[in-house]
């Protein structure tokens, strides 16, 4: 299996999280910091439960792609936010 390595610093992680598009970051933070259940996040944000799950999965997926990326990629990362959520 492919070895997973991380080359990011604390500051880079912070920048990467800041770049997550709002709905994804929102779901991630409500889950991780507020320890909200999926249902509570759905009630708070007004999003359907399935959307909450999808946003969490995508938020972590995007972060993992960047945090666990090979060295050198981070310096080339764009300043603008990453992929936006598809319009329903």
């Amino acid at each position: 299996m492919e070895a997973i390595e991380s080359h990011v610093t604390s500051g880079e992680v912070r920048i990467l999280i800041e770049r997550l598009p709002e709905p994804f970051r929102e779901a991630l933070v409500l889950r991780e910091l507020q320890d909200m259940s999926y249902r509570e996040i759905a009630q708070t944000t007004g999003a359907p439960l399935g959307t909450v799950m999808s946003r969490l999965a995508r938020a972590r997926g995007m972060l993992a792609d960047l945090v666990l990326a090979p060295a050198g990629l981070l310096g080339d990362a764009p300043d603008q936010p990453m992929t936006r959520e598809a319009k329903p």
């Binding site: 299996m1 970051r25 933070v29 991780e32 909200m36 708070t44």
Partner: protein, 258 residues
């Protein structure tokens, strides 16, 4: 090697398992699938690694002091966790909501993992065998062992009878983990002892479904019904995994008596 992408529903199930949002039976089912599916195993490994990376960095000092103080104020004790509150209440203020959210996450994440926990339960297991203090209540009858914990703990650990599965209940005792009283159930398989540490699930718990080895001992970790379980033994890894699955399924099938 290219990383394969799991099916979307499996992917969400893996996240739900890590978040403790998957019921015990679904966890057992997903674990069976994980044994067969390389893509899902890679995804699980990736997510656990991400969590480790975030937890392993000292992100508390990543934010300027003034911003940390502001975030700490927003997450003040008057607004405890597990309580619905308007999003704007802690995403607004002088800091933009987005920035506050990300900083708040960075301060919280290092508390997610407990790096010494595996070693602590292995030490507890060894100590119990060496000191001859394996059980406070030596009894194979779960209807005796379970009530024994009443009044000693603020929670009631499930005590399923796993004799038919080959894991004989031997008794229970009180122990201390991370400075708090925990229940320990003791099961035996042939000449092997299994110490099962049970405590209320922490607010920011460890990832679900971990299986590790340390100093020749296996440690299985899972969560169920608001409790956290850590099973330690020198059993073969496969037998210890089976103990975990049998414990979950039997505890649930005998739920009315728990």
């Amino acid at each position: 090697m290219m990383r394969q992408t799991p099916r979307a529903d499996r992917q969400m199930a893996i996240h739900a398992m890590l978040d403790g949002e998957l019921d015990a039976m679904a966890v057992v089912e997903l674990e069976s699938h994980l044994r067969l599916c390389v893509a899902c195993r890679q995804e699980l490994e990736r997510l656990e690694h991400l969590r480790n990376v975030l937890a392993g960095q000292d992100l508390r000092h990543a934010a300027p002091a003034a911003l940390r103080a502001r975030v700490a104020q927003m997450a003040a004790p008057q607004r405890p966790a597990r309580q619905n509150r308007p999003l704007g209440a802690w995403m607004g203020g002088a800091i933009g909501g987005a920035l506050a959210a990300s900083l708040a996450l960075l301060i919280a994440v290092p508390d997610v993992a407990e790096p010494g926990l595996t070693q602590a339960v292995v030490d507890g297991h060894i100590r119990s065998l060496q000191a001859g203090h394996l059980t406070d209540v030596a009894m194979s009858d779960r209807h005796v062992v379970k009530p024994w914990f009443n009044g000693r703990l603020s929670f009631a650990p499930p005590v399923p009878d796993l004799a038919q599965a080959g894991f004989a209940l031997s008794g229970g005792r009180m122990d201390v983990l991370d400075g708090r009283d925990v229940a320990v159930l003791v099961y035996r398989r042939h000449l092997h002892t299994i110490n099962l540490f049970v405590r209320p699930a922490p607010r920011l718990p460890l990832p679900l479904g971990s299986s590790t080895r340390r100093a020749g001992f296996g440690v299985e970790h899972w969560r169920m019904d608001g409790l956290e379980f850590l099973a330690v033994s020198d059993l073969d890894p496969g037998d210890l995994s089976r103990f975990r699955a049998d414990f979950i399924t039997t505890a649930h099938s005998s739920a009315p008596e728990r």
